[in-house]
Symmetry: C2
Subunit: 208 residues, 2 copies
Protein backbone atom coordinates (compact mmCIF):
# COMPACT_ATOMS: atom_id res chain seq x y z
CA UNK A 1 0.00 0.00 0.00
CA UNK A 2 1.91 3.05 -1.15
CA UNK A 3 -0.80 5.54 -0.19
CA UNK A 4 0.55 7.93 -2.82
CA UNK A 5 -2.52 8.01 -5.01
CA UNK A 6 -5.46 10.17 -4.02
CA UNK A 7 -9.04 9.53 -5.10
CA UNK A 8 -9.55 13.21 -5.92
CA UNK A 9 -7.42 14.07 -8.97
CA UNK A 10 -8.43 17.67 -9.62
CA UNK A 11 -6.12 20.38 -8.17
CA UNK A 12 -9.25 22.47 -7.42
CA UNK A 13 -11.99 21.43 -5.01
CA UNK A 14 -15.61 21.20 -6.12
CA UNK A 15 -17.89 24.13 -5.42
CA UNK A 16 -21.36 23.32 -4.08
CA UNK A 17 -23.83 26.07 -4.98
CA UNK A 18 -25.90 25.41 -1.88
CA UNK A 19 -26.05 26.03 1.83
CA UNK A 20 -27.99 22.78 2.38
CA UNK A 21 -26.51 20.92 5.34
CA UNK A 22 -27.74 17.60 3.94
CA UNK A 23 -26.00 18.12 0.59
CA UNK A 24 -22.78 19.23 2.27
CA UNK A 25 -22.90 16.14 4.49
CA UNK A 26 -23.33 13.89 1.42
CA UNK A 27 -20.27 15.34 -0.35
CA UNK A 28 -18.23 15.13 2.85
CA UNK A 29 -19.14 11.51 3.52
CA UNK A 30 -18.35 10.59 -0.09
CA UNK A 31 -14.83 11.95 0.44
CA UNK A 32 -15.04 14.86 -2.02
CA UNK A 33 -13.26 18.15 -1.27
CA UNK A 34 -15.55 21.12 -1.77
CA UNK A 35 -16.34 24.69 -0.87
CA UNK A 36 -19.98 25.71 -0.34
CA UNK A 37 -21.03 29.00 -1.93
CA UNK A 38 -24.56 30.34 -1.58
CA UNK A 39 -26.15 30.86 -5.03
CA UNK A 40 -28.27 33.71 -3.63
CA UNK A 41 -31.02 33.23 -6.18
CA UNK A 42 -34.62 33.79 -5.14
CA UNK A 43 -35.81 30.19 -5.39
CA UNK A 44 -39.40 30.85 -4.48
CA UNK A 45 -39.74 33.68 -7.05
CA UNK A 46 -38.12 31.55 -9.77
CA UNK A 47 -40.36 28.62 -8.88
CA UNK A 48 -43.46 30.84 -8.88
CA UNK A 49 -42.67 32.18 -12.36
CA UNK A 50 -42.20 28.62 -13.61
CA UNK A 51 -45.46 27.49 -12.06
CA UNK A 52 -47.34 30.33 -13.75
CA UNK A 53 -46.40 28.78 -17.07
CA UNK A 54 -47.41 25.31 -15.80
CA UNK A 55 -43.91 23.85 -15.57
CA UNK A 56 -43.87 20.31 -14.14
CA UNK A 57 -41.87 19.16 -11.13
CA UNK A 58 -38.98 17.80 -13.19
CA UNK A 59 -38.68 21.05 -15.10
CA UNK A 60 -38.78 23.20 -11.95
CA UNK A 61 -36.08 21.10 -10.23
CA UNK A 62 -33.82 21.09 -13.31
CA UNK A 63 -34.27 24.83 -13.86
CA UNK A 64 -33.37 25.69 -10.26
CA UNK A 65 -30.35 23.34 -10.22
CA UNK A 66 -29.10 24.98 -13.41
CA UNK A 67 -29.73 28.53 -12.14
CA UNK A 68 -27.77 27.83 -8.94
CA UNK A 69 -24.83 26.20 -10.78
CA UNK A 70 -24.60 29.03 -13.33
CA UNK A 71 -24.91 31.81 -10.74
CA UNK A 72 -22.00 30.41 -8.74
CA UNK A 73 -19.99 29.46 -11.83
CA UNK A 74 -19.78 33.20 -12.59
CA UNK A 75 -18.05 33.63 -9.21
CA UNK A 76 -15.75 30.57 -9.51
CA UNK A 77 -15.14 30.21 -13.28
CA UNK A 78 -12.26 27.70 -12.96
CA UNK A 79 -14.08 25.30 -10.65
CA UNK A 80 -16.57 22.55 -11.24
CA UNK A 81 -19.73 23.95 -9.65
CA UNK A 82 -22.62 21.74 -8.57
CA UNK A 83 -26.16 23.08 -8.37
CA UNK A 84 -29.00 20.93 -7.04
CA UNK A 85 -32.68 21.19 -6.32
CA UNK A 86 -35.42 18.82 -5.21
CA UNK A 87 -39.14 19.10 -5.90
CA UNK A 88 -41.91 16.95 -4.43
CA UNK A 89 -44.74 16.07 -6.79
CA UNK A 90 -47.98 14.35 -5.78
CA UNK A 91 -49.96 13.59 -8.94
CA UNK A 92 -48.87 16.86 -10.53
CA UNK A 93 -49.24 19.01 -7.41
CA UNK A 94 -45.93 20.49 -6.22
CA UNK A 95 -45.16 20.80 -2.51
CA UNK A 96 -42.81 23.34 -0.96
CA UNK A 97 -41.51 22.98 2.59
CA UNK A 98 -44.36 23.59 5.06
CA UNK A 99 -44.51 27.16 6.40
CA UNK A 100 -45.60 26.07 9.87
CA UNK A 101 -46.68 22.96 11.76
CA UNK A 102 -50.34 23.47 10.82
CA UNK A 103 -49.32 23.27 7.16
CA UNK A 104 -47.16 20.22 7.92
CA UNK A 105 -50.33 18.53 9.25
CA UNK A 106 -52.15 19.40 6.00
CA UNK A 107 -49.29 18.01 3.88
CA UNK A 108 -49.23 14.74 5.83
CA UNK A 109 -53.00 14.34 5.38
CA UNK A 110 -52.62 14.87 1.63
CA UNK A 111 -49.68 12.44 1.33
CA UNK A 112 -51.35 9.74 3.48
CA UNK A 113 -51.96 6.48 1.59
CA UNK A 114 -50.41 7.79 -1.63
CA UNK A 115 -47.17 7.64 -3.60
CA UNK A 116 -45.28 10.86 -4.30
CA UNK A 117 -42.22 11.58 -6.43
CA UNK A 118 -39.07 13.38 -5.37
CA UNK A 119 -37.38 14.92 -8.41
CA UNK A 120 -33.76 15.39 -7.44
CA UNK A 121 -31.98 17.47 -10.06
CA UNK A 122 -28.30 18.34 -10.22
CA UNK A 123 -26.24 20.35 -12.69
CA UNK A 124 -22.46 20.64 -13.04
CA UNK A 125 -21.09 23.79 -14.68
CA UNK A 126 -17.65 25.22 -15.37
CA UNK A 127 -16.85 28.61 -16.84
CA UNK A 128 -20.55 29.32 -17.32
CA UNK A 129 -21.10 26.17 -19.38
CA UNK A 130 -23.25 23.23 -18.33
CA UNK A 131 -21.21 20.01 -18.48
CA UNK A 132 -23.75 17.59 -17.02
CA UNK A 133 -27.35 17.54 -15.87
CA UNK A 134 -29.52 14.74 -14.54
CA UNK A 135 -32.63 14.43 -12.38
CA UNK A 136 -33.28 10.97 -10.92
CA UNK A 137 -36.67 10.41 -9.32
CA UNK A 138 -37.35 8.63 -6.03
CA UNK A 139 -40.84 7.32 -5.32
CA UNK A 140 -42.02 7.29 -1.72
CA UNK A 141 -45.28 5.73 -0.58
CA UNK A 142 -46.84 6.96 2.64
CA UNK A 143 -48.97 4.51 4.59
CA UNK A 144 -52.49 5.48 5.62
CA UNK A 145 -52.00 7.79 8.61
CA UNK A 146 -54.53 8.22 11.41
CA UNK A 147 -55.33 11.73 12.64
CA UNK A 148 -53.96 10.68 16.06
CA UNK A 149 -50.68 9.60 14.45
CA UNK A 150 -50.32 12.84 12.49
CA UNK A 151 -50.89 14.90 15.64
CA UNK A 152 -48.40 12.89 17.72
CA UNK A 153 -45.88 12.83 14.86
CA UNK A 154 -45.94 16.58 14.25
CA UNK A 155 -45.74 17.25 17.98
CA UNK A 156 -42.79 14.91 18.36
CA UNK A 157 -40.88 16.06 15.26
CA UNK A 158 -41.55 19.75 15.91
CA UNK A 159 -40.00 22.59 13.91
CA UNK A 160 -37.46 20.31 12.18
CA UNK A 161 -40.41 19.24 9.98
CA UNK A 162 -40.18 22.68 8.34
CA UNK A 163 -36.71 21.82 6.95
CA UNK A 164 -37.87 19.25 4.41
CA UNK A 165 -40.60 18.85 1.85
CA UNK A 166 -43.28 16.26 2.36
CA UNK A 167 -43.47 13.89 5.26
CA UNK A 168 -40.29 14.78 7.13
CA UNK A 169 -36.71 13.56 7.07
CA UNK A 170 -36.55 9.97 5.81
CA UNK A 171 -33.31 9.50 7.75
CA UNK A 172 -35.17 10.47 10.93
CA UNK A 173 -38.72 10.18 12.24
CA UNK A 174 -40.05 10.33 8.65
CA UNK A 175 -39.43 6.60 8.25
CA UNK A 176 -42.52 6.09 10.47
CA UNK A 177 -44.65 7.62 7.72
CA UNK A 178 -43.43 5.47 4.84
CA UNK A 179 -44.42 2.01 3.71
CA UNK A 180 -42.38 1.83 0.53
CA UNK A 181 -39.19 3.50 -0.73
CA UNK A 182 -37.97 3.31 -4.33
CA UNK A 183 -34.81 5.20 -5.20
CA UNK A 184 -31.42 5.44 -3.62
CA UNK A 185 -30.75 7.30 -0.40
CA UNK A 186 -28.68 10.11 -1.93
CA UNK A 187 -31.45 10.92 -4.43
CA UNK A 188 -33.91 11.10 -1.54
CA UNK A 189 -31.49 13.29 0.43
CA UNK A 190 -31.28 15.78 -2.46
CA UNK A 191 -27.97 15.12 -4.22
CA UNK A 192 -27.86 12.00 -6.43
CA UNK A 193 -24.29 10.86 -5.85
CA UNK A 194 -24.31 7.81 -8.15
CA UNK A 195 -24.64 9.80 -11.44
CA UNK A 196 -22.66 12.75 -10.03
CA UNK A 197 -19.68 10.55 -9.13
CA UNK A 198 -19.90 8.80 -12.49
CA UNK A 199 -19.63 12.16 -14.23
CA UNK A 200 -16.67 13.19 -12.06
CA UNK A 201 -14.85 9.97 -13.02
CA UNK A 202 -15.59 10.46 -16.73
CA UNK A 203 -14.44 14.07 -16.46
CA UNK A 204 -11.20 12.98 -14.82
CA UNK A 205 -11.59 14.69 -11.46
CA UNK A 206 -12.15 11.44 -9.60
CA UNK A 207 -10.06 8.27 -9.85
CA UNK A 208 -11.98 5.47 -11.58
CA UNK B 1 -51.75 20.45 18.99
CA UNK B 2 -52.34 18.85 22.40
CA UNK B 3 -49.02 17.00 22.47
CA UNK B 4 -50.55 14.43 24.82
CA UNK B 5 -50.26 11.45 22.52
CA UNK B 6 -46.90 9.71 22.17
CA UNK B 7 -45.86 7.68 19.13
CA UNK B 8 -44.49 4.90 21.34
CA UNK B 9 -47.40 3.23 23.13
CA UNK B 10 -45.65 0.38 24.96
CA UNK B 11 -44.75 1.02 28.63
CA UNK B 12 -41.53 -0.95 28.07
CA UNK B 13 -38.77 0.10 25.66
CA UNK B 14 -37.57 -2.21 22.92
CA UNK B 15 -34.47 -4.29 23.50
CA UNK B 16 -31.94 -4.45 20.67
CA UNK B 17 -29.91 -7.67 20.86
CA UNK B 18 -26.92 -6.01 19.27
CA UNK B 19 -24.00 -3.74 19.99
CA UNK B 20 -23.98 -2.49 16.38
CA UNK B 21 -23.61 1.30 16.35
CA UNK B 22 -25.36 1.49 12.96
CA UNK B 23 -28.43 -0.41 14.21
CA UNK B 24 -28.60 1.65 17.38
CA UNK B 25 -28.41 4.84 15.31
CA UNK B 26 -31.28 3.63 13.09
CA UNK B 27 -33.58 2.97 16.06
CA UNK B 28 -32.64 6.29 17.64
CA UNK B 29 -33.29 8.28 14.48
CA UNK B 30 -36.64 6.53 13.99
CA UNK B 31 -37.66 7.78 17.45
CA UNK B 32 -37.93 4.38 19.14
CA UNK B 33 -36.95 3.97 22.81
CA UNK B 34 -34.65 0.99 23.32
CA UNK B 35 -31.97 -0.61 25.43
CA UNK B 36 -29.08 -2.40 23.71
CA UNK B 37 -28.08 -5.77 25.20
CA UNK B 38 -25.25 -7.82 23.76
CA UNK B 39 -26.48 -11.27 22.71
CA UNK B 40 -23.04 -12.73 23.43
CA UNK B 41 -23.43 -15.56 20.93
CA UNK B 42 -20.42 -16.76 18.98
CA UNK B 43 -21.52 -15.55 15.56
CA UNK B 44 -18.54 -16.88 13.65
CA UNK B 45 -18.86 -20.37 15.21
CA UNK B 46 -22.61 -20.45 14.50
CA UNK B 47 -22.01 -19.28 10.96
CA UNK B 48 -19.25 -21.85 10.43
CA UNK B 49 -21.50 -24.70 11.58
CA UNK B 50 -24.23 -23.50 9.20
CA UNK B 51 -21.81 -23.26 6.32
CA UNK B 52 -20.61 -26.83 6.90
CA UNK B 53 -24.14 -27.97 6.10
CA UNK B 54 -24.24 -25.66 3.03
CA UNK B 55 -26.72 -23.13 4.39
CA UNK B 56 -27.38 -20.23 2.04
CA UNK B 57 -26.95 -16.54 2.89
CA UNK B 58 -30.63 -16.00 3.68
CA UNK B 59 -30.65 -18.97 6.04
CA UNK B 60 -27.47 -17.89 7.83
CA UNK B 61 -28.77 -14.33 8.35
CA UNK B 62 -32.19 -15.51 9.59
CA UNK B 63 -30.62 -18.09 11.91
CA UNK B 64 -28.27 -15.57 13.51
CA UNK B 65 -31.02 -12.91 13.89
CA UNK B 66 -33.19 -15.52 15.62
CA UNK B 67 -30.38 -16.77 17.85
CA UNK B 68 -29.61 -13.22 19.03
CA UNK B 69 -33.27 -12.36 19.69
CA UNK B 70 -33.90 -15.58 21.63
CA UNK B 71 -30.69 -15.34 23.67
CA UNK B 72 -31.58 -11.84 24.87
CA UNK B 73 -35.30 -12.66 25.26
CA UNK B 74 -34.27 -15.09 28.00
CA UNK B 75 -32.72 -12.13 29.84
CA UNK B 76 -35.61 -9.67 29.20
CA UNK B 77 -38.72 -11.91 28.98
CA UNK B 78 -41.28 -9.07 29.20
CA UNK B 79 -39.73 -6.94 26.46
CA UNK B 80 -39.94 -7.03 22.69
CA UNK B 81 -36.41 -8.06 21.69
CA UNK B 82 -35.01 -7.41 18.22
CA UNK B 83 -32.25 -9.58 16.77
CA UNK B 84 -30.70 -8.75 13.41
CA UNK B 85 -27.99 -10.02 11.13
CA UNK B 86 -26.72 -9.20 7.66
CA UNK B 87 -24.93 -11.52 5.23
CA UNK B 88 -23.31 -10.56 1.94
CA UNK B 89 -23.72 -13.05 -0.87
CA UNK B 90 -21.95 -12.89 -4.23
CA UNK B 91 -23.34 -15.65 -6.46
CA UNK B 92 -23.58 -18.02 -3.50
CA UNK B 93 -20.28 -17.09 -1.90
CA UNK B 94 -20.67 -15.55 1.56
CA UNK B 95 -18.42 -12.67 2.67
CA UNK B 96 -17.54 -11.87 6.27
CA UNK B 97 -16.01 -8.51 7.26
CA UNK B 98 -12.42 -8.35 5.98
CA UNK B 99 -9.82 -9.35 8.57
CA UNK B 100 -7.30 -6.75 7.39
CA UNK B 101 -6.77 -4.23 4.60
CA UNK B 102 -5.11 -6.82 2.36
CA UNK B 103 -8.29 -8.90 2.55
CA UNK B 104 -10.37 -5.76 1.91
CA UNK B 105 -8.40 -5.35 -1.36
CA UNK B 106 -9.22 -8.95 -2.29
CA UNK B 107 -12.92 -8.47 -1.55
CA UNK B 108 -13.10 -5.31 -3.67
CA UNK B 109 -11.43 -7.10 -6.59
CA UNK B 110 -14.00 -9.91 -6.31
CA UNK B 111 -16.96 -7.52 -6.08
CA UNK B 112 -15.74 -5.29 -8.95
CA UNK B 113 -18.16 -5.19 -11.89
CA UNK B 114 -20.66 -7.50 -10.22
CA UNK B 115 -23.94 -7.40 -8.29
CA UNK B 116 -24.04 -8.75 -4.76
CA UNK B 117 -26.93 -9.30 -2.34
CA UNK B 118 -27.18 -8.08 1.23
CA UNK B 119 -29.54 -10.31 3.20
CA UNK B 120 -30.73 -8.24 6.12
CA UNK B 121 -32.61 -10.42 8.57
CA UNK B 122 -34.43 -9.35 11.71
CA UNK B 123 -36.41 -11.26 14.32
CA UNK B 124 -38.67 -9.95 17.09
CA UNK B 125 -39.17 -12.19 20.13
CA UNK B 126 -40.96 -11.89 23.46
CA UNK B 127 -40.92 -14.41 26.31
CA UNK B 128 -38.81 -16.78 24.24
CA UNK B 129 -41.33 -16.85 21.38
CA UNK B 130 -40.70 -15.50 17.88
CA UNK B 131 -43.42 -12.98 16.96
CA UNK B 132 -42.04 -11.78 13.63
CA UNK B 133 -39.24 -12.57 11.22
CA UNK B 134 -38.33 -11.10 7.87
CA UNK B 135 -35.21 -10.77 5.71
CA UNK B 136 -35.39 -8.19 2.92
CA UNK B 137 -32.61 -8.25 0.36
CA UNK B 138 -30.76 -5.25 -1.06
CA UNK B 139 -28.87 -5.61 -4.35
CA UNK B 140 -25.73 -3.54 -4.82
CA UNK B 141 -23.80 -3.36 -8.07
CA UNK B 142 -20.13 -2.41 -7.93
CA UNK B 143 -18.69 -0.66 -10.94
CA UNK B 144 -15.54 -2.00 -12.57
CA UNK B 145 -12.73 -0.85 -10.29
CA UNK B 146 -9.16 -0.19 -11.44
CA UNK B 147 -6.30 -1.53 -9.34
CA UNK B 148 -5.20 2.08 -8.81
CA UNK B 149 -8.64 2.99 -7.49
CA UNK B 150 -8.75 0.01 -5.11
CA UNK B 151 -5.36 0.93 -3.70
CA UNK B 152 -6.23 4.60 -3.22
CA UNK B 153 -9.66 3.72 -1.83
CA UNK B 154 -8.37 1.27 0.76
CA UNK B 155 -5.60 3.69 1.77
CA UNK B 156 -8.09 6.54 2.15
CA UNK B 157 -10.80 4.57 3.97
CA UNK B 158 -8.31 2.78 6.23
CA UNK B 159 -9.29 0.53 9.15
CA UNK B 160 -12.95 1.61 9.09
CA UNK B 161 -13.25 -0.73 6.07
CA UNK B 162 -12.96 -3.62 8.52
CA UNK B 163 -16.28 -2.62 10.16
CA UNK B 164 -18.50 -3.60 7.26
CA UNK B 165 -18.91 -6.46 4.84
CA UNK B 166 -18.22 -5.92 1.18
CA UNK B 167 -17.15 -2.67 -0.35
CA UNK B 168 -17.27 -0.35 2.65
CA UNK B 169 -19.91 1.87 4.23
CA UNK B 170 -22.48 2.91 1.62
CA UNK B 171 -23.20 6.03 3.72
CA UNK B 172 -19.53 6.96 3.45
CA UNK B 173 -16.74 6.46 0.95
CA UNK B 174 -18.38 3.19 -0.23
CA UNK B 175 -20.67 5.17 -2.54
CA UNK B 176 -17.61 5.65 -4.81
CA UNK B 177 -17.61 1.90 -5.46
CA UNK B 178 -21.25 1.50 -6.44
CA UNK B 179 -23.01 2.08 -9.73
CA UNK B 180 -26.46 0.81 -8.77
CA UNK B 181 -28.37 0.45 -5.50
CA UNK B 182 -31.63 -1.49 -5.15
CA UNK B 183 -33.19 -1.69 -1.72
CA UNK B 184 -33.92 0.84 0.96
CA UNK B 185 -31.25 2.46 3.08
CA UNK B 186 -32.22 0.80 6.38
CA UNK B 187 -32.00 -2.67 4.80
CA UNK B 188 -28.53 -1.79 3.52
CA UNK B 189 -27.58 -0.44 6.97
CA UNK B 190 -28.55 -3.74 8.60
CA UNK B 191 -31.95 -3.17 10.22
CA UNK B 192 -34.93 -3.06 7.83
CA UNK B 193 -37.10 -0.43 9.52
CA UNK B 194 -40.03 -0.49 7.09
CA UNK B 195 -41.20 -4.04 7.96
CA UNK B 196 -40.04 -3.72 11.58
CA UNK B 197 -42.11 -0.56 12.15
CA UNK B 198 -45.07 -2.14 10.39
CA UNK B 199 -44.92 -5.06 12.83
CA UNK B 200 -44.66 -2.71 15.83
CA UNK B 201 -47.79 -0.87 14.65
CA UNK B 202 -49.70 -4.14 14.14
CA UNK B 203 -48.56 -5.35 17.55
CA UNK B 204 -49.78 -2.12 19.16
CA UNK B 205 -46.45 -0.78 20.46
CA UNK B 206 -46.33 2.04 17.92
CA UNK B 207 -49.11 4.47 17.06
CA UNK B 208 -50.47 3.85 13.55
Amino acid sequence: MSGLKALWQNPLPLVLASKSAARQALLTSAGLPFEAVDAKIDERATEASLLVRKAGAAEVAAHLARAKALAVSALRPEHLVIGADQVLDLDGRLFAKPKDLAEAVQHLALLSGRTHNLHSAFCVARGGKILKEDAPVARLTCRVLSAAFIEAYVTTAGPELLNSVGAGAVEGLGIQVLERIEGDHTTIMGLPLIPLLQFLREEGSLLA
